[in-house]
Symmetry: C2
Subunit: 358 residues, 2 copies
């Protein structure tokens, strides 16, 4: 199954907290459960949580007791405010919520049922588009990968971070499908270990050669000439090309530049936030100390130790070689070129949304 699916009024998702030890699918019929699943990282990854929020609003629309359009819109707004509070950094969450609310407002019918139908369809469309977008950016990104390349990646920007194909791992999959002999260095990605738990699991299942490393090992690999390209995702890209992504991405970009290795962020244009001039304005989520002090139920630090646990960092655009999007690879000057890539969003023919709304 996909990372997240809509199944007859129920939202199903792979429980990413349990992988790789257990493959479990959870089902939610209340949007508050979806919000909690996002908060607790049962589902994570910028594109995936956007889709999860969209399906959450579809649940609201389907279940609302509203008898008229205004009541339903109010119910949706209320749910949207709960969903917006789940995680602050990935802009796809807010983007998807706005898109769903816009869709609700645009339905040309006073019928509650018609609006609900439109929202379920819109969330489905958003999920389907995500897969298509991943395949497009995968194809663009694969052009950057040469036969024999060693790719280093951080966290999980794979199918589990999206609906099905992946951003960074979309590029990796596309290169692999083209027959390029590649090998992926997988940062374990403390504290939540998305690399060790999720990226390793994805790559092993597909037989793509990979090696797991502690995050501390990445610099040594670059210095000793064992990395050809660094690829990581994005949770939010500012108008100037600064990239917020999983904590530790910044160091990879600095080390890559220091060692003459190209470093790309791979993400859909829905991750770009043109309202923010630079990365300093991106809100950085801080998460619970327990993510650092415990591994599952095993304590690994002294009881009561003070902890600082930001979930993301910002990589200034000067360290980013390019940003791989579904509309092509964006190179500096990002200020100009990101705007163009995002602009293509509403025109592009592959965006069925645009067509369906006309």
């Amino acid at each position: 199954m996909r990372t997240i699916e809509w199944d007859d009024g129920v939202v199903k998702m792979i429980d990413q907290r349990k992988l790789p030890l257990e493959y479990a699918v959870v089902e939610f019929s209340d949007y508050r459960e979806v919000a909690q699943a996002i908060r607790e990282m049962c589902i994570r990854g910028a594109p995936a949580i956007g889709v999860a929020a969209a399906f959450g609003l579809a649940l609201v629309a389907r279940q609302s007791q509203a008898t008229n359009r205004e009541q339903l819109l109010a119910d949706l707004e209320e749910a949207a405010s709960v969903l917006r509070e789940t995680r602050p950094t990935a802009v796809n969450l807010f983007w998807a919520i706005e898109r769903m609310l816009d869709r609700a407002r645009q339905v040309d019918s006073p019928e509650v049922e018609a609006i609900a139908d439109a929202l379920v369809a819109e969330a489905q469309l958003l999920a389907d588009e995500d897969v298509e977008i991943n395949k497009r950016l995968g194809a663009y990104g694969a052009e950057l990968i040469a036969d024999g390349d060693n790719i280093l990646t951080h966290c999980n920007a794979g199918r589990l971070a999206t609906v099905d194909y992946g951003t960074v791992l979309g590029v990796v999959r596309a290169a692999h499908e083209q027959g390029k002999r590649i090998h992926v260095w997988v940062d374990e990605t403390r504290p939540r270990l998305q690399g060790a738990r999720l990226t390793a699991w994805e790559l092993m299942r597909e037989g793509i050669p990979m090696t797991l490393i502690a995050d501390n090992t990445a610099g040594h690999l670059m210095y000793t000439g064992q990395v050809d390209i660094v690829l990581f995702g994005a949770d939010r890209v500012a108008a100037n090309g600064d990239v917020a992504n999983k904590i530790g991405s910044y160091k990879l970009a600095v080390l890559a530049r220091e060692n003459g290795i190209p470093c790309y962020s791979v993400s859909p244009t829905s991750t770009v936030d043109l309202s923010l001039a630079g990365g300093d304005d991106i809100p950085i989520e801080e998460r619970d100390a327990r993510e650092v002090t415990y591994i599952r139920d095993v304590p690994i630090a002294p009881e009561g130790v003070p902890v600082y646990n930001p979930a993301f960092d910002v990589t200034p655009h000067r360290y980013i070689t390019g940003i791989v999007t579904e509309n092509g690879i964006v190179y500096p000057p990002f200020e100009v070129n990101l705007r163009k890539a995002v602009g293509l969003r509403s025109q592009a023919r592959f965006f069925r949304t645009a067509r369906s709304r006309r």
Copy 2:
């Protein structure tokens, strides 16, 4: 007690595999047990494993069935070859073993008992010197620390990595004892978590303000202006000042330079290996995959995942601001100044060894 002690023919050490969950002292009366304790990191840290090897040879001398000088020297050589095989990177191990063997050869008596007495005394001296050396380099290093400084450190270069006072944490202790208000960012230091387990434990016990972070967070802290100085230890320093230290140190030095933050290695001159021109010649230990894939007995990655687990990396000297030794802070050109600092070793009055041998 000290990290390691000689007690009437028995070597006692704090079991660092169990900290911070359990404080346990283990006792060994066979040098092979000491070798295993080094290999399994029951004791670790470049200076501490040198002292452990010295006490291991003292055990051999005390227990040998040799009836003459030549037999005893042969027993010692055999044990030395076992001890040398325990860990390849920290040169202090080899340095301490050579010093013990030299001492044995120099004893001006054919009596086996006299040689054994001399070796027990030499190992004790080496341990006592280590404490004195730490206090000296602590005093030098403390001059680098200003009131209010945020210090970032990696791994454990504390009392647990030495006999009692610490190298990096010797500097921290000295600054704290001088009344400077300091705060230490402690990298957890995957995969073995020496920061989370040992450095946090040491600092919390002494009430020195500290905060634990995932290794991935260090760069973010530097970029956001929250680090004033980076201090890490050394397992081997080449003649040109290249520093081999715990995996992940290289990235800290690169990030520090990129952000205009001074980065010092803190270590005794016994860590300097003038026989190696540069860091590329330093042997880098690779350790078991299980260090990465398990936390205690909890698996954190897919079964059978390929792993690369180097225990150390090399930081080229161009990223190192200075090297804090017991003979002062060594600045570039390291090629010249390290040789001077090491040269002081044999002359310095505080080296009671030198005196006792005359």
